[in-house]
């Protein structure tokens, strides 16, 4: 049986230059997958392909049994730069998204639902403010509220917290963890932050460096849920997991060679590792 999302051999090329190729992975329904890799290896491109904003030069993405051919309201995107419309209020931004989702809704219905969505991210008091009057963290919260209000089948996030300070980022990570768990949301997120990936992801996809990048390893996060930033680093296996991912980013990502891959590696079935399990420590 196929997973909910199935990425099948996608590639992106610019002329003779191959950014990535032969990328295969799947995301199960209700699963949270994180994509980690160095700058320029093509993470945003992959997310845009999943969103339907770009199409791959090779391969296809199958969602729920059908190949995607364009953007869809079922796959909501949380953009890196919040991407709020500055001429609309916070509530207006969410209401605009809702009016696209529910074409038959009246303006008042959209507005009420937008305020409800903002309440879920703790922004009731700022509903009538324009983005320019919000802090970076609040703007990103509005972006999250906008995406979740659509009640999508899947959430796509491109480094949603990278522009925020550490404190704000932390509280938003906990919040996203809670919201995604509550709604059993299927999610795909790009991040540079190893702790963020460990906190949120069920599986971490590790991408080798470009050009010609691939999914080099898949790390299964076996740490128990619910995870919060407060308890995460006390969990047994956390350090092994973290070291494994960091080691990949520092050395293995650039040593990976698809022509001479490590034993057992194949593009279509990238081996999964469980470094947090005591057994895997060998």
């Amino acid at each position: 049986m196929k997973p909910y999302v199935s990425v099948e051999g996608i590639a992106r090329r610019y002329g003779a230059m191959t950014i990535f190729e032969d990328v295969w992975f799947g995301i199960a329904r209700g699963e949270f997958a994180c994509l980690v890799g160095h700058s320029g290896c093509g993470k945003t491109t992959i997310l845009n392909i999943l969103a339907g904003l770009e199409s791959p030069d090779e391969g296809a993405v199958i969602v729920d049994g059908t190949e995607i051919s364009g953007p869809s309201l079922d796959r909501a995107v949380i953009f890196q730069g919040h991407a709020l419309m500055p001429w609309m209020t916070a509530a207006g931004n969410v209401a605009f998204a809702l009016s696209c989702r529910h074409r038959s809704w009246s303006r008042a219905q959209c507005d009420a639902a937008a305020r409800e969505a903002l309440k879920r991210v703790g922004l009731s008091h700022a509903a009538d403010r324009k983005p320019a009057e919000l802090s970076g963290g609040m703007k990103q919260r509005v972006g999250i509220a906008r995406a979740l209000a659509l009640n999508p089948k899947m959430l796509l996030m491109d480094e949603p917290f990278s522009a925020l300070d550490a404190l704000t980022r932390g509280s938003l990570q906990d919040e996203v963890a809670r919201l995604v768990a509550e709604t059993q949301q299927t999610a795909f997120m790009i991040t540079h932050d190893v702790d963020e990936a460990i906190l949120l992801a069920d599986r971490i996809l590790l991408m080798s460096n470009g050009p010609g990048a691939r999914i080099a390893e898949v790390v299964v996060n076996t740490l128990p849920k619910p995870r919060t930033r407060a308890n995460l680093h006390h969990m047994p296996g956390y350090h092994a997991l973290r070291d494994h991912v960091l080691d990949f980013l520092i050395t293995r990502s650039k040593d990976f060679d698809a022509k001479a891959p490590p034993a057992g590696w194949s593009a279509r079935a990238v081996p999964e590792t469980r470094p947090a399990l005591p057994l895997a420590a060998d």
Binding site: A51, G52, L53, G70, P71, S72, L73, R75, A76, V77, F79, G81, A83, M85, P86, W87, M88, F96, A97, C100, R101, K130, P131, A132, L150
Partner: protein, 282 residues
């Protein structure tokens, strides 16, 4: 450098300058033959006081102009036959022409600019025409307009149309073309559709640039209408100025200059208000 100067201080200096200017003017145009004040011949030569000699009309001083202004303003809207109408009526004619020409230009330029901004092909295809036609003085169109339209009043409107179309067209196209990709991507992932994207995203995003174009256009239109009316005659403030020149009523000409300036200022302020209404801040 750009410290905020208190209003009253700037106003005092402005008033002072005005007083000095008016007094100097009044003094400069004092009749030489009136005996009394003896004028240094060199100074007279410098000012070229040919006007003070018999046979030519003397330059009126501020007090004479003020008297005339009070006279004109007592009944600015009188109509005593086609060749004798109040200055208010004349300005109203000019405003009507500017309004018609500018309005028509906006109706054509804004939608067309939208298309040009959205389609790189159309942009490239129309660019040579725009580049060649834009620098042409609007008055150069006048003979062609008179020849083909055969109506002087409509020809003047046409000239206004042709001169106000370019800034609006170019600004609209530029504003639409430079709408942030992010916002367009948001609209795409929301499956907003062409119409909703155009009206709810592109239009508000480009509105400040479009209104700036309109503001430039109305300024040019108001400059051009005076010249156009001098050519076509009949009615309007431009015609009135020319008529007063033929009558050698210099005071009326000075008053007309003042009026043209004030109306131009009012038009600019009006579009300034529109600009504030559509402005957004990131």
């Amino acid at each position: 450098m750009s410290q905020k100067v208190p209003f009253w201080r700037a106003a005092t200096v402005s008033l002072l300058l005005l007083t000095v200017l008016l007094m100097a003017w009044e003094y400069a145009v004092l009749p030489v033959s009136g005996g009394g004040a003896e004028i240094d011949p060199e100074y007279a030569a410098l000012l070229g006081q040919a006007a003070a000699q018999g046979g030519t009309t003397p330059m009126p001083g501020p007090s004479a102009i003020w008297k005339r202004l009070v006279e004109l303003m007592a009944d600015p809207f009188y109509v005593r036959g086609t060749n004798d109408q109040g200055i208010g009526v004349q300005i109203a004619y000019s405003l009507l022409r500017v309004g018609a020409g500018f309005g028509l230009a906006a109706i054509v330029a804004i939608p067309l600019g939208f298309l040009i901004g959205m389609s790189p092909l159309l942009n490239a295809a129309l660019n040579p025409f725009i580049q060649v036609l834009r620098p042409v003085s609007p008055l150069a169109w006048m003979p062609l307009a008179l020849y083909s339209i055969k109506d002087s009043a409509i020809s003047a409107v046409f000239v206004i149309f042709i001169c106000s179309i370019w800034p609006m067209l170019l600004n609209t196209a530029f504003g639409v073309a430079s709408v942030r990709k992010e916002w367009l991507n948001v609209a795409r992932t929301l499956e907003a559709g062409t119409w909703k994207t155009a009206t709810r995203v592109i239009l508000p995003a480009a509105a400040p640039t479009i209104v700036t174009g309109m503001r430039i256009s109305i300024g040019i239109a108001w400059l051009v209408i005076v010249a156009a009316e001098m050519l076509v005659g009949g009615t309007g403030i431009g015609y009135w100025v020319w008529n007063q020149w033929n009558n050698l009523s210099i005071a009326d000409i000075v008053i007309a200059i003042l009026m043209i300036g004030l109306v131009g200022l009012a038009l600019d302020r009006l579009l300034g208000l529109a600009a504030n209404a559509v402005a957004w801040r990131e």
